[in-house]
Symmetry: C2
Subunit: 255 residues, 2 copies
């Protein structure tokens, strides 16, 4: 059996998330597995680096699959891009050693959460950004982000039910940058704020809850120092709102 690693882009809008489910055909993993099964005539299971929620996008999701095929990596990639729906694309595909596992071997991930800090809708970016009209204090959000950086128990920042699994994770960096919107804005207004999160792994809803909490700090509804107390509490109710899925994009998985 040969093993293939691929890097994927998708727009999450139409999908019930990454993970294949019995109840719906509309998952990214389900689309990919079905297509490769059709291509090879074998039952193919695509393994992702991790799940993404319903509505979350990816520009650099990684996945792998085993198949008994004579096709080259280039031929498989071309076949996939021909038959995949236009909101999913394979941007690279290569053969890897048989033991490579996209989830178990992942060393780190980077997510980007895009906020449009304006009351004026941006037509081209509307599917990939969350619009926040209130004025946001960048410095306050950056100070708050420092409390989240490092190794912590992020139990307050996940929606997972109480379980036995560890909720300790390490965030290597949180970068908050302001910039011109990507939509070729004639106006050239600097109204996009991007939150970049890099870490060794993220819990269910963790990036979206961190973003929702940082946005409350930015709007002066909380002080940056409160983040330390929220972490210590281990209590979901102490953290901020869950930011909408559509603003979030999985940018990169590192090995």
């Amino acid at each position: 059996m040969r093993n293939f690693k691929m890097i994927l882009q998708y727009e999450g809008t139409r999908y019930q998330g990454w993970q294949k489910q019995e109840s719906t055909e509309h998952t990214i993993q389900g689309k990919l597995s079905a297509l490769l099964t059709r291509m090879t005539g074998q039952e193919i299971e695509v393994q992702g680096s991790g799940r993404t929620d319903a509505g979350v996008h990816a520009l650099g999701q990684t996945a792998n699959f085993h198949a008994d095929t004579n096709l080259s990596a280039g031929e498989i990639m071309e076949y996939m891009n021909t038959y995949l729906p236009e909101d999913i694309a394979v941007i690279s595909l290569e053969e890897v050693p048989e033991r490579f596992h996209s989830r178990l071997n992942a060393k780190g991930k980077t997510y980007c959460y895009r906020v449009l800090n304006t009351h004026i809708p941006h037509v081209f970016d509307r599917r990939y950004t969350y619009m926040v009209p209130e004025k946001l204090d960048l410095e306050a959000m950056r100070r708050a982000a420092e409390y989240l950086t490092g190794t912590h128990d992020f139990k307050a920042f996940t929606s997972t039910k109480k379980g036995k699994k560890s909720t300790v994770r390490t965030i290597e960096s949180i970068r908050i940058e302001k910039g011109e919107s990507l939509s070729l804005q004639a106006a050239g207004a600097e109204d996009e704020i991007r939150f970049w999160y890099s870490g060794n792994g993220f819990l269910y809803h963790m990036v979206r809850i961190m973003t929702g909490t940082l946005l409350e700090v930015g709007a002066h509804k909380r002080r940056p120092e409160e983040i330390a107390e929220v972490l210590a509490s281990g209590c979901r109710e102490q953290a901020g709102a869950l930011a909408p899925a559509k603003g979030l994009t999985l940018m990169e998985v590192r090995y």
Copy 2:
């Protein structure tokens, strides 16, 4: 009667172009006029700087309308952005002198045609770009573009039936630039080519036919020097193919 000027963004995908038609509700002008008529209780006619074809986008279309209203410009803009479909947005709205006319007073326009020069689909940009997998010779396209710059009879570069109206136009500049795709590409590949056209006015299909012709030069299907002959012929069949609408965006109208 007060006169209001607005700058509009729209994604053209769902629409039968700018201009209101009897046969369809799906035009940008139709949506805007109907909404303002509802807001004011008066029959409002929105006048654009010019038409855009079905499927063509805008980040800086300009339009004006006359209305007898006590609402402020800010209130009108807020009302419109609340009720417009999410693929149309008003990014500025101001009161202007009564004689201002968005079409007759327009001094120049800038269009951008976006080509993804790759065989790998870009999910986030797919609605706003045209994918061309063949290798393109930038220098040849730039030399060809020089023949189009200046004042010429562009009869060969329009789909309009023979008529009495002048087909002479002045193109101030054509800029062809290569750059990183706007879709936050993790890969950072320089695979987007943008064609920027500025001129005092453009004929029906003119930007798309110029782009289609330049792409044939870029793929070495024509020599740059042929452009002079095509212009001189005045014959549509001598020019290149009509590039797809979805790659084209009206960026700015100058007054």
